[in-house]
């Protein structure tokens, strides 16, 4: 089915949820409200002539520096593809500015589990009804969400676990595990800037 036709079907089915749609480089996307995202995606997956059974990608976006007006700060993007019918669509759900949250789609695709955890990890977007929402790529005690645009590239501070580890190594070095200080205990003065 033509992507534009899919959007028309979506508009007819969920008139209050669809905010806008556009086509870029032959790919059509719809921007939707977050409230009924599970219903929308289930409808796209289960309707007979759509059958969007493959969740290609799920990721978050921080729009704070984007030039287009009227976008909410955070959004979650779902790229769907129908393997039997070979058509695709992108669904962008606006999830608000502060304390962003959206319903989890793990019930529809088990594989969304880690993708949502990753989005939570890197953007701080909360997924309600997620079975196990915790960080996946970063350590559990990491502070902040690195892919937000206000998070500096070099990070904010040393991760607590790293500081602990360096302390531990220093302590072990005193007992002669590394008498010449080759490891992390002592750094040459000219290397200190890099650390």
């Amino acid at each position: 089915m033509e992507q534009v036709a899919i959007v028309d079907r979506l508009r007819a089915e969920f008139p209050d949820e669809i905010l806008s749609s556009y086509t870029n480089q032959g790919q059509t996307a719809v921007i939707v409200r977050p409230g009924r995202i599970v219903d929308i995606l289930r409808w796209l997956r289960d309707t007979d002539d759509l059958r969007m059974n493959h969740l290609r990608a799920l990721c978050g976006v921080d729009n704070v520096r984007r030039k287009e007006p009227g976008l909410s700060r955070f959004e979650v993007v779902y790229n769907l593809y129908s393997i039997p019918l070979r058509h695709e669509i992108r669904v962008r759900a606006e999830v608000g500015d502060k304390d962003p949250a959206i319903d989890s789609v793990v019930a529809l695709w088990t594989g969304a589990d880690w993708l949502e955890r990753e989005t939570y990890d890197l953007f701080g977007i909360r997924f309600d009804n997620h079975p196990n929402l915790r960080r996946v790529l970063l350590p559990d005690d990491w502070v902040g969400h690195p892919l937000c645009k206000d998070y500096p590239l070099k990070g904010k501070e040393e991760w607590a676990g790293m500081t602990e580890l360096l302390e531990k190594i220093k302590e072990l070095d005193q007992h002669g595990f590394d008498p010449e200080g080759h490891a992390h205990g002592q750094t040459a003065p000219d290397q200190e800037d890099d650390l």
Binding site: N24, H54, R56, V61, W114, E118
Partner: protein, 408 residues
Amino acid sequence: MTRPISKSLDIPVPDGDSERYSLRMGPQHPATHGVLRVDLELDGETIIECTPQVGYLHRGFEKLAENKTYAQALILTDRLDYIAAMANNIGYCVAVERLLDISVPLRAQYLRTMVGEMSRISSHLLWLATHALDIGAMTVFLYCFREREILLDLFEELCGARLTFSYPRIGGVRQDVTSAFVDELQRFLDIFPAKIEEYETLIDTNRIWLKRTVGVGKVTGEQALSLGLTGACLRGSGVDYDIRKHQPYGAYALVDFEVPLGSDGDIYARYRCRMEEMHQSVRIIQQCIDQLPPGPIVGPDAPDLVMPNKPRARIEASTNIYGTGLIKLIRDRNLYMSGDVYVATEVPKGELGFYFISDGNNRPYRMHIRSPSFIHISALATIAKGELIADLIANIGSLDVVLGESDR
């Protein structure tokens, strides 16, 4: 006075005839193919709960890419799936070209297809080698590395690197092939099908191999789709999904090949799929060599590498293309069209997708990498549950994961 020891030491009493315990496998473990940790809840040798933990190799590529120009971020993709770096490069370039509407000459398309398939063979060879080694077939390991060495030498001849190539460029490829390279590749293609049969004679009639793979790690097609599996893992379960056929890129629409499908969805089916894929790759490379058209290898509007013949937007030609030209590009705003695209390519591991958002700048506003390995590892929890711990090793190998790609 004597007391029973069991009371003072508080030895756990088996509950009925079973005893549950937890085991941490990895992150330093030879069979996890990188730094993967798997937390296991075991009942004897049966896995009750399997929790994979990743992130040890997280380098923040998505954040880094937002601070680099499109051409600079190419080298990051080498470090994703370092076993098939060429395929990652191609995936990245195809996505950026779609995003910025850059055309690629036909010769470059063919060259990309050719090296992409070489990369697939090399990745599958390494997979077969380590997978067989994990299950206990040492000989296959050495045989596979023998042929992989020829491919790595060919890559070195082509672009000077054996592992991190950065050979494809946005808008084309970096260098043209030499006739010596094509001759050498042709020699490889002539001998390689016989070599695949050699591996097969080593393991396909091996009773131990069959016992450890047939019927183990079963995934139905529906399950595989729900888990998000792609590549040979999905096709092993009988779902016909290959992006080279579904949404062709490069020269895949112009060459003839088949997509091997399995039906059982077990480790053996995935193994058969990958072996067949190598045969198909040979076919594709052969056609690429035969059909290779003459012409330029970089498009006229490729950014950064070569200044365009017809100046576009505000790019100025400069004598020092790597110095001044690049700085000018970095300072220029509103150089490209804005918008977003999701473009996926079929890499040896599965579907590698790039979701790009451009806001007209010369750097991506957002780059999301849909890495097959990340999703495959998350599927491990479902696949390994209820199976034996020894089969966990076979399952990890069979999913063909690379942790560099998973953690990004």
